[in-house]
């Protein structure tokens, strides 16, 4: 294998120039450089579609993609042929020129805006190193080339993709915010290229002469592969951690220097800029068919130069859609005051599809739920800690939250934290001066402070305090109390607990920052370890340690020398403040007599000198500065200890933040993070640095993440893994001793229980590595890291090699609350005849519970489970389920009561089989019988596959809604993609057609705006056909009287302006503003939505009825004047004008009547009014009557449903107790 890889690498070197690029510093003299630079694109960007010269041909070409445009150009051309010309050729091209000119002007205008923004961007300035002047000079962005050295300051935007060479940060990291790129507002860490010869505080460009080889430009934001070759032929691997992406913002770092590798259009940001997609709406597709029909009709009628095909139709449709979008975006009901966002319509041409949705695919997390994770409970070493108080506080919070108009209040509790530390202190007798705490109240009120979540400040700060479980608290604190002589069993448990908390604190990618310095990462704070407690702990740990935890202080290589030094300098400290912020460097409690009274503005100045030799704090100035700042800040604030700042955790996923917060509640506080180490405080230890050896980041394939650290106490290399429960349980070794086996069994039991409660579960495990074992792994891993090709696969493999034979520590349960009005919305959507499917990555039980909570599942529903391991089993299961459905329906026939429905729950693996060709059919059959389908454990790919399958095979209109990156593919596949701008960045929004901020807005968006848009547009299009057919037929009838010569009785100008001027505005106004039924009624009666689903407004039959109607009207319009004038001395035009004007009048009158009736409908409305008409009538009634009839309507409908239901039944699944784990595969048993 290795040989193979090596040979691969050898092969790669050969075709070096072909598929990779070489970047040399542009300020060195080298012949190659100029040549290379010419081949790479410059940093100037042009996002405009057209240039001055290419506008006309390119725009024309694009416009001619429309069938109708081609047709009219053809007709116009035909008029220049003398034999067939009907009009003066000049006149005949006016309409098409007019229409195309409007489109062209619109395009030009859009392009102009793009050009302006391009110019703005290109003219931004940045500092580029100049060879001649030997210093950094200001340059425009457009002038930056590949190989340039660029220096950026904090908060500057990165002009091109650069490899980070230097950062003012002592750790060689810099933080960037990628909000411009993907909308994620959390900071991402980037790292200076490793093993760079000059790591010092100053970067001298002259000394840099390495060459960079990297892959050719591509659009993968998260991938960058390459290596840097130093003059000594030493190669260092480069990866995405080293790359600063264009249009991101440098945060938190004073200056960074990087070398440009991709510029301009070759940057990843630009490569990703594909522009909006063009979707064609269902209505428009049908429209095209009907245009073709008109051509056929035209051929049949066989005369030239008619205007049967509505030339202005396309233009009008576009204008109408713009108008509709304007009104959707201005809807106050879809406005979220908290986030200050309304609805965003990103696709301009599918508004009417909103009115025809038949299937809705929803993501769960963040879409139905808040994606606001709150730690709820956990299980460690087989013992469940129910966190009752926490539950109570959560409930209270929820109540409060619900009481409030906006639900984004986050809770933070200071008092509770204090009381908590008080409790813990009292347990930790050894090192506490109780004086510190007497001043503080011991209240348990959690809701002291409700802090408004400032919009957009931090996307994923979960600031809800966790009330610790007393039992767990006691056990954890036992660790630092040396008095306890623990039993062996208990000792093992305690070490598990400690490991569990270490894992919670360390095994994540959370960045710590503080509120007063937004977007600035907390500098690595002063390390003060209370000596005694640490020593005691170590002793304790030693005592507790199982034989395989050998511990000696000598081995404790991780402790930096400064740390030990400090330990002595500081002497014994009586306090530990898990939550104390580094900004007010650990309120000086050296003297126990002045506890909270110690002003925080006289901070640890004596401490700093002692730190000067510390390994962390090479850059003393920085630290000092930061400190001064912070002191100043705290000065300006209150001296009160309550004002001590809290740490803000910015995590990529909300779960991580929740877990870190939870650990913090137990006194295990994450204080800071650098690439090499993590600063953590444990109860009784104070800040500890844990050397971070590796981070194996989370990947959806592995469904877990790991960190490799050196254990702070034992000094061993330990792997902490956190991930989805099923994955971790598999990886956890079947332990040889009964203890761990018991843990596993117990934990599994607890996990099931959590899932039943609808909690999100995560398992935490660890593994201790022998030194040799670690070294062996390290070697392979480093190879994987530095390799350029197959890097991802190698890293995956490497991670899998590490993450096995784990020891299970415990599991956590996290609550994710439902968003407001989700059940109502889902109910309304289902009533509207939309099938709602939930596609989630969560586990089955959680998914089912959420489904119950949001009323997707009703107590009476019959749940069909499909969990299969093989294709055959899957097939058999499907048959079984089908049988079951028929059985259930039969049974339902007999019993009278209640509604019955089946709901299919299918897991990811089974879904894979179901999506295979052979089983697709039976899967779809099955789903058709079910009211809803819940797919759990599904991957993003599966989500999109499911959507595509349903869309293509069932030929239905689909809508996909989601908020995260994992929903992007699904959103793109669906006919209508809706993105929720929520916690997880903007990726879903970027790829969506409509973006809303809450799930509940979907209700109005679909039921009201969708219905309106569809009804309006459909009627408008019908009207367009009507008016053209009607008008053209007048000319047609005339042909019988002019020898079929194609002469018209009206002036050609009138003919041409008929569509463009005389009859264009009314339908547009109609298409934008008409309301068949008011919005309130549509919301109250979701039933009405079904008319859109069945395309009732635009059926083929309606089209033909319209055409026939038009024929009839034109007959009347023509022959009445004809008989009136027959045989008279009437001239051609005198004959034409009354016909023309009467037709115009009738056409406009028809429009007037069309708000809502075509003549044909009068009878329908009288004899058997459709639901829509009845709703219209209802609106006439007084308020009281209105509600009466509304009630009656609903009753009627319910009665209808009952009577039409041929398969009612009752089922024994009791929903009050969502007790579903047992109905797994044996769902059949439930029936009996």
């Amino acid at each position: 294998m290795i040989q193979q890889l090596e040979s691969d690498q050898g092969g790669m070197a050969k075709d070096l120039t072909k598929n990779r690029r070489v970047v040399m510093p542009s300020w060195t003299e080298h012949e190659e450089i100029k040549e290379l630079q010419q081949s790479y694109s410059r940093n100037k960007v042009r996002t405009t579609k057209y240039t001055f010269l290419s506008f006309l041909p390119k725009n024309l070409f694009e416009q001619l993609h429309r069938f109708a445009n081609v047709y009219f150009v053809f007709l116009g051309a035909l008029n220049f042929v003398p034999i067939v010309n009907a009009f003066q050729p000049e006149i005949s091209v006016i309409p098409i020129i007019f229409v195309m000119a409007i489109t062209a002007v619109k395009d030009l205008w859009e392009d102009q805006r793009r050009r302006k923004s391009d110019q703005k961007i290109n003219n931004c300035s940045c500092e580029v190193y100049d060879r001649k002047q030997k210093q950094y000079v200001e340059r425009r962005w457009a002038e930056v080339c590949v190989g340039d050295l660029v220096r950026l300051c904090c908060n500057e935007i990165i002009p091109a993709d650069m490899v980070l060479l230097h950062s003012s940060d002592s750790n060689g990291v810099c933080h960037i915010e990628t909000a411009n790129l993907d909308g994620e507002t959390n900071l991402k860490q980037r790292q200076v290229v490793r093993d760079l010869p000059q790591q010092g505080p100053e970067f001298v460009p002259e000394n840099y002469s390495s060459r960079i080889e990297c892959e050719n430009p591509n659009n993968d934001l998260r991938r960058f592969r390459g290596f840097m070759e130093h003059p000594g032929k030493v190669r260092v691997g480069l990866h995405s951690e080293n790359l600063l992406l264009r249009s991101c913002t440098v945060r938190n770092t004073e200056t960074v220097i990087g070398i440009v590798v991709y510029a301009g259009h070759e940057t990843k940001a630009m490569q990703n800029n594909s522009g909006p997609r063009y979707k064609r709406s269902k209505l428009e597709r049908r429209l095209n068919v009907d245009v073709l029909w008109c051509v056929v009709l035209l051929l049949v009628m066989c005369f030239i130069a008619a205007v049967l095909i509505p030339i202005s139709l396309y233009v009008s449709i576009e204008i109408v859609k713009l108008g509709q979008i304007y009104f959707i975006q201005n809807d106050l009901d879809l406005y979220n005051p908290v986030l200050d966002t309304g609805v965003q319509c990103r696709a301009l041409n599918i508004t009417e599809d909103l009115g025809q949705i038949q299937h809705l695919f929803s993501d769960k997390t963040g879409t139905l739920t808040e994606n606001r994770m709150l730690f709820r409970r956990c299980t460690v070493a087989g013992t469940e800690y129910p966190h009752k108080e926490n539950a109570i506080s959560l409930e209270q919070y929820e109540e409060q939250g619900c009481g409030d108009a906006d639900h984004s209040l986050t809770l933070r509790s200071r008092a509770s934290r204090k009381s908590l530390s008080c409790k813990s202190l009292s347990c930790n007798r050894s090192s506490v001066s109780l004086n510190t705490l007497t001043a503080e109240s011991d209240t348990h009120s959690v809701h002291d402070t409700l802090r408004r979540h400032t919009p957009g400040a931090f996307s994923s700060t979960m600031e809800c305090a966790v009330v610790p479980d007393p039992d767990l608290q006691v056990k954890l604190n036992a660790l630092s109390s040396p008095m306890r002589s623990a039993l062996r069993q208990e000792a093992a448990e305690i070490s598990h607990i400690l490991d569990f908390f270490i894992a919670l604190t360390v095994c994540n990618t959370v960045v710590v920052s503080s509120p007063t310095q937004p977007r600035h990462m907390v500098q690595m704070p002063v390390v003060r370890t209370p000596l005694r407690s640490l020593e005691e702990m170590k002793a304790m740990f030693q005592k507790l340690s199982l034989p395989r935890f050998p511990l000696s202080l000598n081995q404790n290589t991780d402790t930096p020398p400064s740390l030990t030094k400090k330990l002595f300098t500081r002497g014994r400290s009586a306090s530990y403040f898990p939550n104390s912020s580094p900004q007010t460097p650990i309120t000086n409690l050296q003297s126990p007599t002045t506890p909270s009274g110690t002003p925080s503005n006289t901070p640890s100045t004596p401490v700093t000198p002692a730190l000067s030799s510390g390994t962390w704090t090479e850059d003393m100035d920085d630290i000092q500065k930061a400190k001064d700042n912070s002191v100043r800040e705290s000065d300006s604030e209150s001296d009160d200890e309550d004002e001590e700042e809290e740490l803000l955790y910015e995590a990529e996923s909300p779960d991580e933040a929740a877990l870190v917060q939870a650990a913090k509640a137990y006194g295990c506080t994450l204080l800071g993070r650098s690439p090499e180490q993590v600063l953590v405080a444990f109860p009784g230890t104070g800040p500890l640095s844990i050397p971070l050896l590796h981070v194996l980041p989370f990947s959806s394939a592995r469904k877990r993440m790991s960190v490799v650290v050196r254990h702070p106490l034992s000094g061993e290399v330990v792997v902490y893994t956190k991930g989805a429960d099923n994955v971790i349980m598999e990886l956890a070794e079947a332990a040889e001793d009964g203890f761990s086996r018991e843990i596993m069994e117990q934990t599994q039991k607890h996990l099931d229980q959590y899932a039943r409660e609808g909690l999100r579960t995560l398992c935490v495990a660890k593994k201790v590595l022998e030194e040799q074992e670690y070294k062996a792994w390290l070697k392979r891993h480093e190879y994987a890291e530095t390799s350029i090709e197959n890097r991802e696969e190698l890293l995956l493999e490497s991670a899998e090699r590490l993450e096995k034979n784990l020891t299970l520590l415990g599991a956590t349960g996290i609550v994710d609350r439902l968003q407001e009005e989700v059940p109502e919305t889902i109910e309304a959507l289902q009533e509207a005849g939309i099938k709602v499917w939930v596609l989630t990555g969560d586990k089955q039980e959680t998914a089912i519970n959420i489904a119950f909570a949001c009323k997707l599942l009703r107590p009476t529903d019959h749940i069909l489970m499909a969990n299969c391991d093989s294709k055959e089993a899957c097939e058999a299961r499907f048959h079984e389920l089908e049988h079951e459905i028929t059985q259930v329906t039969k049974k339902g026939m007999k019993s009278e009561d209640g509604s019955f429905d089946c709901v299919l729950v299918i897991d990811g693996r089974t879904l894979d089989y179901a999506l295979e060709k052979e089983l697709q059919g039976s899967f779809l059959n099955l789903t058709c019988c079910c009211r809803s389908v819940i797919c759990c454990r599904s991957t993003p790919l599966q989500k999109s596959q499911v959507v595509r399958l349903v869309r293509d095979k069932l030929k239905v209109m689909t809508l996909a809604i989601g908020d995260g990156a994992n929903d992007v593919s699904m959103i793109q596949v669906a006919d209508v993609g809706v993105g929720i701008s929520g916690q997880e960045g903007m990726q879903a929004v970027m790829s969506s057609d409509f973006a809303i901020s809450r799930f509940k807005f979907l209700r109005k968006l679909i039921l009201v705006h969708g219905h309106w848009c569809y009804a309006r547009l459909a009627n408008m299009i019908l009207y367009f056909f009507y008016k053209n057919v009607m008008y053209v037929n007048l000319l047609f009838w005339y042909q019988f009287f002019c020898g079929f010569s194609g002469h018209t009785m009206t002036n050609s100008w009138v003919l041409i302006f008929f569509n463009l001027l005389f009859t264009s505005i009314p339908p547009i106004i109609y298409g934008v503003l008409d309301k068949d039924v008011s919005g309130e009624t549509l919301l109250d009666l979701p039933d009405l939505y079904k008319s859109g689903q069945k395309s009732q407004a635009y059926l083929p039959s309606t089209f033909w009825v319209n055409i026939v109607d038009a024929f009839y009207q034109s007959l009347v319009c023509f022959f009445i004047p004809y008989f009136a004038y027959a045989g008279s001395d009437i001239g051609v035009f005198s004959f034409g004008s009354p016909i023309n004007s009467s037709a115009l009048l009738i056409i406009l009158l028809h429009q007037l009547v069309l708000c809502h009736v075509i003549l044909f409908r009068v009878f329908c409305n009288t004899i058997c009014p459709s639901d829509l008409v009845r709703a219209q009538k209802m609106e006439r009634l007084s308020a009281q009557d209105y509600y009466m009839s509304l009630q009656q309507w609903k009753e009627n409908k319910a009665a209808q449903r009952l009577s039409s239901r041929h398969i009612p039944q009752n089922l024994s699944v009791n929903a009050d107790v969502p007790y579903l784990t047992d109905c797994n595969a044996e769902a059949g048993a439930v029936l009996s």
């Binding site: 923004s117 201005n330 965003q344 009287f1041 002019c1042 001395d1129």
Partner: protein, 315 residues
């Protein structure tokens, strides 16, 4: 990506959530205005059409139109019409010979007279029309076959008529004036009306040949080239007459310079193409007597003298 995201922000007035830069005060809220228009609450009237409302409305409208219709019918019935067919298809028709023997080559005109009797007097002005049936004056290529600028007196068009006139554009290498098929097929029968007194003597009835065309046609659309130059033959000297014509355009009415050339009213009337294949055109007006005592055409015997020239059988 970048540029487009900038765009999006500009377009929607969207600000990236006030992250980092820009205080909350600086960011304009995106809250939509609560106006009747933007929230689609404009007052509106929405009729629901059912048979109950539509049928009475129809009847009402119908009732309004009934008196109008009655009025129109009565007026229409007061108009007396008398029609004479002189095509001469019928063997016993006086014009039978003319219709049979007429040929383009013959230089002498064929004349026939049709006697008729009026039973009732014709009061007021009497309008005399000639009518053609199945003459497709509205055929597309026929209609186009004219040059309006030539007819408007444009000198250059006079000598270089529009291509639309083909194949009646030039003859003998001279431009035709007036060119085109319409002009070429000018109705050139001459009709005269005589009152036959009981004693057998014939009195020619005075007929006015002007005032039969539209005022705009006569004064705006049609103009002789050369303005008020009375010497029309000189103006038209470089043109040739339409092939079917007997005489050039400047001899249409030599007696009246205001009715000669392009502004000859018979010609103008002909040039205004009829909408339908069976049509009639105003030929003459018999003005009522000044004394107002005797009717314009008293009852009695009359004779219509036709100088037969048009090839109506085939038309």
């Amino acid at each position: 990506m970048m540029a487009s995201s900038y765009n999006a922000k500009d377009e929607d007035g969207h600000h990236p959530g006030s992250v980092g830069s820009g205080g909350p005060g600086a960011v304009k809220s995106k809250k939509p205005d609560n106006t009747a228009f933007k929230q689609q609450r404009l007052p509106a009237w929405q009729p629901i059409l059912t048979a109950g409302t539509v049928l009475p409305a129809f009847f009402m409208i119908g009732l309004i139109f009934i008196p109008i219709g009655i009025g129109l019918l009565v007026t229409s019935n007061n108009i007396k019409e008398f029609e004479i067919d002189y095509t001469g298809v019928d063997m016993f028709s006086p014009c039978f010979n003319c219709s049979q023997n007429y040929s383009w080559n013959s230089t002498s005109a064929c004349t026939c007279s049709v006697p008729f009797t009026l039973d009732q007097p014709f009061e007021s002005n009497v309008f005399m029309y000639y009518g053609l049936s199945n003459f497709y004056q509205n055929h597309r290529r026929y209609v186009k076959s004219r040059d309006d600028s030539q007819l408007n007196g444009d000198k250059s068009s006079l000598l270089n008529p529009s291509k639309e006139c083909e194949p009646y554009r030039t003859s003998d290498k001279k431009p035709i004036a007036p060119c085109g098929a319409i002009a070429n097929s000018l109705f050139n029968d001459t009709l005269e009306l005589f009152y036959i007194q009981p004693n057998g003597s014939r009195i020619a009835i005075d007929m006015v040949k002007t005032g039969i065309a539209w005022w705009t046609d006569k004064h705006v659309k049609f103009r002789n080239p050369g303005g008020n130059n009375n010497n029309l033959s000189h103006v038209f000297r470089e043109t040739s007459k339409p092939v079917n014509w007997r005489k050039p355009v400047y001899e249409l009415d030599p007696s009246d310079p205001d009715n000669n050339g392009f502004i000859n009213e018979d010609f103008i009337v002909w040039m205004r193409t009829a909408a339908l294949p069976t049509f009639r055109k105003l030929y003459r007006i018999i003005q009522k007597k000044k004394d107002n005592m005797t009717p314009t055409l008293p009852p009695g015997n009359y004779s219509l003298e036709v100088i037969y020239s048009i090839l109506e059988k085939s038309a």
